[in-house]
C-alpha cells in the first residue's frame, strides 16, 4: 500500500476578516481608538478624526488622518495587508515609541465602522500617494479564501497627506451607525480616557473635527484630577518590594519601601497612582474624569479597566458587602496603573481587547493593586473614619445626654412647682403659728427654734430643687456669667450632704471667681468627680477617714478645678480601664459617668486629666477656658 503522507496547512476564509473586525472590536468608539493607536504606532504627532454625521444630503463619513511615517507599497503589503501581524517591540528598537498594537488587527476595525475604506498613505517626501480601496462586503463570503479578495491600489497625485510631512489618511464610508451627537460625545469621552492623564504625552495629540459643530470640534485632552485628599503612588522595585509615597492632607508626605505578598517579578517597573477624595469630589476637581482604576500601557488605556461596571479590584463589591467597614468608596477613587509593553510583555490584552490575558503577571498586578487599596483603606480608617466615628459618637452622646437632661429639666420644672407650693404653705404657716403665739403673749425659745428649723429645712429643700434644676437645665452649651467659686461651694455642700458616706470636704476656693462658662457643665462634671471620689473612699476598707479636697484657681484665662480624694486609688490596670471607660458608652449614676465628663469638658474646650496611686488616692484636674466660645 503506497504511503500517503504530506502536510496540511490552514487557509483562511475571507469571512475571518469580518469576524476580526466586526465581532472582536466591541464598539464603534473602540474601533476608532484602534485606528488612533495605529497612527501613534506610525510615529504620528497628531491624529485628526473627522466625523461627518449623516445628513439628508450626504451620508455619514469618518476620516482618521495621521502625520506618521506613511507607507510605501512594500510597507503596506508587509504591515497592513498581513492579518495578525504587527511590528514587535524588538523589531522597532530604533523607534522612540513602544508600539501600542500587539495583535495586528486594528486595521480591520474599520470594517466595523463602515463598508468602504479608502486608505491613502504617503511616505514623507514621496511625490505620489498610495491609494487603496477596500470593500469589506467582499469578505462576507465564507466560501472565498482571504487571499482571493482583490484589493485594488494605485499611486496617484494628491494633496493629502502632505508631501513634506507624509502620513496616512483612512476614509470610511458606508457607515453602519448614523454618528449622531451622542455618539460623537461618547467617542470624545473614550478618546479622552485613551491617554493616561497623569502621564501626558508631549509628542502626541488627538483632535476631533466635526464639520458644523464648534463644541464637538477640538483637541481631546484629559487633565488629571486635582486636590485629592490622599495621593498614593507606588512603583514595583523588584520581585518583592514596592516603593510607596503617600501625600495626605493633612499628614504630609510619607515614603516607604514595603514588601508585597505577591511575586512581582513579572511586573517590575509597574507604576501606579491612586487619588482618593474623602468626600464626593466636585467636577472641577475630577476634570470630568470618571472614577475607577484605569490601566494604561505605554500611555494608552487598556480596556476595560476603569470602565463603569468593570469593578476589577472588587472595590464596589466590598463596599456593598461591608458597608461601613470598607472605607474606600468607589466613586471617590481614581486610579492610574501604568504598564509597559516592553517591560511587561506578559501583560497582554486578550484579542477581544476586553481584558488582560490571565496569568502570573496579571495576577500580580491585581494583587499589588489590592494591597495598595487595602493600605489606603487602613489610612482612611485610622486617619479619617475612626476620628470621624469618634466625633460622631461624641456628638451623639452629647445629643443623647442633652435629650435626657431636657426631659429631666422638664420634669424638675414641674417637680419644682409642685414641691414649692406645699413648702410655701409649711413655711408660711410655721411663721403664722409663731406670730399667733406672740400675739397671745407666748414667747418660747423652743417654739422659735422649731420655727427656725422648719425655715432652714424648707430653704435646704429649695436649694436641692434649684440644684437639680441647674443640673437638669442641661444645655452645656449655654454659657453665662456667674461666680464659679460660689457654684462650687454650693454644689459641694449639697454633694456632701447627699453622699451617705462619712467624709470631710476641704474647700480651697477663692472668695469669688467670676466665670463666663456653662453652669450645667461645671455642675455636671463636679458632681461626677465627686461621686467618683465618694465611691473610692467608700471602697477603702481600712477604716480611714475620707477626705475630699476641692481646689479652684484661675490661671490667666483658664479655670482650674482640682478634686482629690484619699480613697483606694487606681492600679495601673484600673487606669487603663479608665481610659477604656472614656471610650465606652458606660454610664454611671444619673446617666453621666466619666465618659460624659470627658465629653463635656472637651465640649467646653477644656481637658480632664488624673493622677492616681493605688491605695493612696486620686486627683482629677479639670481645666477649661473662661470663654469657651
Amino acid at each position: 500500500m503506497p504511503e500517503d503522507k504530506g502536510h496540511f496547512s490552514f487557509s483562511a476564509s475571507a469571512n475571518l476578516v469580518r469576524l476580526i473586525g466586526r465581532e472582536l472590536v466591541s464598539t464603534d468608539e473602540a474601533a476608532v481608538i484602534e485606528l488612533v493607536k495605529n497612527g501613534y504606532d506610525a510615529g504620528a504627532s497628531r491624529v485628526v478624526i473627522t466625523v461627518q454625521p449623516a445628513t439628508e444630503r450626504q451620508p455619514a463619513y469618518i476620516a482618521v488622518s495621521d502625520d506618521g511615517q506613511g507607507m510605501g507599497r512594500a510597507d503596506f503589503e508587509r504591515i497592513f495587508m498581513k492579518a495578525g501581524y504587527t511590528e514587535r517591540p524588538d523589531q522597532t528598537t530604533e523607534a522612540s515609541r513602544t508600539p501600542t498594537g500587539e495583535k495586528g488587527i486594528g486595521r480591520f476595525a474599520t470594517g466595523r465602522l463602515g463598508r468602504y475604506l479608502k486608505a491613502t498613505t504617503r511616505v514623507r517626501g514621496a511625490d505620489e500617494v498610495l491609494a487603496v480601496a477596500f470593500d469589506w462586503a467582499e469578505f462576507d463570503s465564507k466560501k472565498k479564501n482571504i487571499e482571493d479578495v482583490r484589493i485594488p491600489y494605485q499611486f496617484v497625485r494628491s494633496a493629502l497627506p502632505a508631501k513634506e510631512q507624509g502620513g496616512t489618511l483612512l476614509e470610511i464610508t458606508g457607515l453602519r451607525s448614523p454618528w449622531k451627537r451622542d455618539q460623537i460625545i461618547a467617542l470624545r469621552t473614550a478618546l479622552a480616557e485613551l491617554l493616561d492623564p497623569t502621564q501626558e504625552l508631549s509628542d502626541f495629540e488627538i483632535q476631533v473635527e466635526v464639520p458644523g459643530s464648534s463644541s464637538l470640534t477640538g483637541p481631546v485632552h484629559q487633565a488629571p484630577p486635582e486636590s485629592a485628599d490622599l495621593q498614593l503612588s507606588f512603583t514595583v522595585l523588584n520581585s518583592r518590594q514596592v516603593k510607596r509615597t503617600l501625600v495626605a492632607e493633612p499628614g504630609g508626605k510619607t515614603r516607604e519601601t514595603v514588601e508585597s505578598a505577591h511575586d512581582l517579578s513579572r511586573i517590575v517597573g509597574l507604576h501606579g497612582r491612586f487619588l482618593y477624595f474623602l468626600a464626593r469630589p466636585v467636577k472641577s476637581h475630577t476634570k470630568g474624569l470618571r472614577p475607577g482604576v484605569f490601566v494604561y500601557r505605554d500611555g494608552f488605556r487598556v480596556e476595560p479597566f476603569g470602565s463603569p461596571g468593570a469593578d476589577w479590584l472588587g472595590v464596589a463589591e466590598r463596599r456593598a458587602k461591608r458597608a461601613g467597614h470598607a472605607h474606600v468608596v468607589p466613586t471617590r477613587l481614581f486610579g492610574f496603573i501604568e504598564i509597559s509593553r516592553r517591560l511587561h510583555p506578559d501583560l497582554q490584552d486578550t484579542t477581544s481587547r476586553q481584558a488582560l490575558v490571565g496569568g502570573e503577571a496579571a495576577k500580580a498586578m491585581v494583587g499589588l493593586a489590592l494591597e495598595q487599596i487595602r493600605f489606603l483603606e487602613d489610612k482612611i480608617r485610622v486617619d479619617v473614619a475612626v476620628p470621624r466615628w469618634e466625633a460622631h459618637k461624641a456628638r451623639d452622646a452629647i445629643e443623647l445626654e442633652r435629650a435626657r437632661l431636657h426631659s429631666l429639666g422638664m420634669m424638675s420644672h414641674a417637680v419644682a412647682h409642685e414641691m414649692r407650693q406645699p413648702m410655701q404653705t409649711i413655711l408660711s404657716e410655721a411663721g403664722n403659728i409663731n406670730d399667733r403665739l406672740r400675739q397671745m403673749g407666748i414667747e418660747d425659745v423652743e417654739i422659735a427654734q422649731s420655727q427656725a428649723a422648719i425655715a432652714d429645712n424648707i430653704n435646704r429643700m429649695d436649694d436641692t430643687i434649684n440644684l437639680v434644676a441647674d443640673l437638669a437645665r442641661g444645655n452645656v452649651e449655654d454659657v453665662s456669667d456667674f461666680d464659679l467659686a460660689d457654684l462650687v461651694r454650693r454644689d459641694c455642700a449639697f454633694f456632701e450632704r447627699t453622699s451617705n458616706v462619712e467624709l470631710r470636704v476641704d474647700l480651697k476656693l477663692p472668695g469669688v471667681q467670676n466665670a463666663h462658662a456653662s453652669r450645667a457643665a461645671v455642675s455636671t462634671v463636679l458632681y461626677n468627680l465627686f461621686r467618683n471620689a465618694v465611691e473610692a473612699i467608700d471602697a477603702a476598707t481600712d477604716g480611714r477617714h475620707g477626705v475630699i479636697t476641692v481646689e479652684l484657681r484661675r490661671e490667666r484665662e483658664t479655670h482650674v478645678l482640682r478634686l482629690s480624694d484619699n480613697g483606694v486609688g487606681m492600679t495601673p490596670q484600673d487606669e487603663r480601664d479608665l481610659g477604656r471607660k472614656f471610650k465606652t458608652q458606660k454610664t454611671g449614676h444619673m446617666g453621666f459617668g466619666l465618659y460624659y465628663c470627658n465629653l463635656i469638658v472637651k465640649s467646653q474646650g477644656g481637658a480632664l486629666s488624673h493622677v492616681s496611686e493605688a491605695g493612696v488616692g486620686t486627683t482629677f484636674t479639670v481645666k477649661f477656658p473662661d470663654r469657651p466660645d
Binding site: 407650693q421 404653705t425 425655715a455 434649684n466
Partner: protein, 165 residues
C-alpha cells in the same frame, strides 16, 4: 385705715397662709383663687398692693396684672412664683417685669412671712419713684384712682413742674 392687699393664688392653703401672715402684719386682706375672682374683687374694692402667683390655671399673674391695671392703674404689684428660672435673681426678674408690665417686685417661692411683709411694706412706704409721673400721665384719664394714690400722683406732678421752672 389699714392698707388693703389682694392675694391671688390658686393654692388655697398658700393664699390662706399668706392672708393670715399679712393680717398679723396689720393689713386688710382679700384673697382670690383665680383671675375672675380677682377682677370681681377689683370691681368691688380698692387695693394698694396685689400679690399675684405667676402660674395660675388659664392665665398668668402678668396677664392678670394687666387686667387689674385697667381697673386699678396704680396698684402696686408683686409677682410670686415657684416655677420661674432660678438662674435669674429676684432683682433681675423684678427689673424685667417692671419694664414689661410695671410689676413692682418679684419674689421666688418659698418666701418667708417676714420677707413678704417687708416687701409689701417697702412698696407702700418707698419714696415716690421718678416713674410715678409717667404712670400718672398714662393714668390721668382713668377714673379709678384711689384717693391716697391720686394725692401722691398730684403731689409728684407738682414737684416735677416746680423743678422744671
Amino acid at each position: 385705715m389699714p392698707h388693703h392687699v389682694l392675694v391671688v393664688d390658686d393654692e388655697k392653703d398658700t393664699r390662706a397662709a399668706w392672708a393670715k401672715a399679712l393680717r398679723y402684719g396689720g393689713y386688710a386682706v382679700t384673697t382670690a383663687g383665680n383671675a375672675q375672682e380677682a377682677l370681681e374683687a377689683c370691681e368691688r374694692e380698692r387695693f394698694d398692693v396685689a400679690i399675684l402667683d405667676f402660674i395660675m390655671p388659664k392665665t398668668t399673674g402678668v396677664e392678670l396684672l394687666a387686667a387689674i391695671r385697667k381697673r386699678l392703674p396704680l396698684v402696686r404689684a408683686v409677682i410670686v412664683s415657684g416655677k420661674l428660672e432660678r438662674q435669674l435673681s429676684e432683682e433681675e426678674l423684678s427689673q424685667s417685669l417692671k419694664s414689661a408690665v410695671e410689676a413692682d417686685s418679684y419674689l421666688h417661692k418659698p418666701v418667708s412671712n417676714e420677707r413678704l411683709r417687708q416687701v409689701v411694706e417697702g412698696l407702700l412706704t418707698q419714696a415716690e419713684p421718678q416713674e410715678w409721673s409717667d404712670i400718672a400721665k398714662r393714668s390721668l384719664d382713668r377714673r379709678a384712682l384711689t384717693q391716697s394714690t391720686a394725692r401722691r400722683v398730684s403731689r409728684s406732678l407738682k414737684q416735677k413742674t416746680k423743678s422744671k421752672r
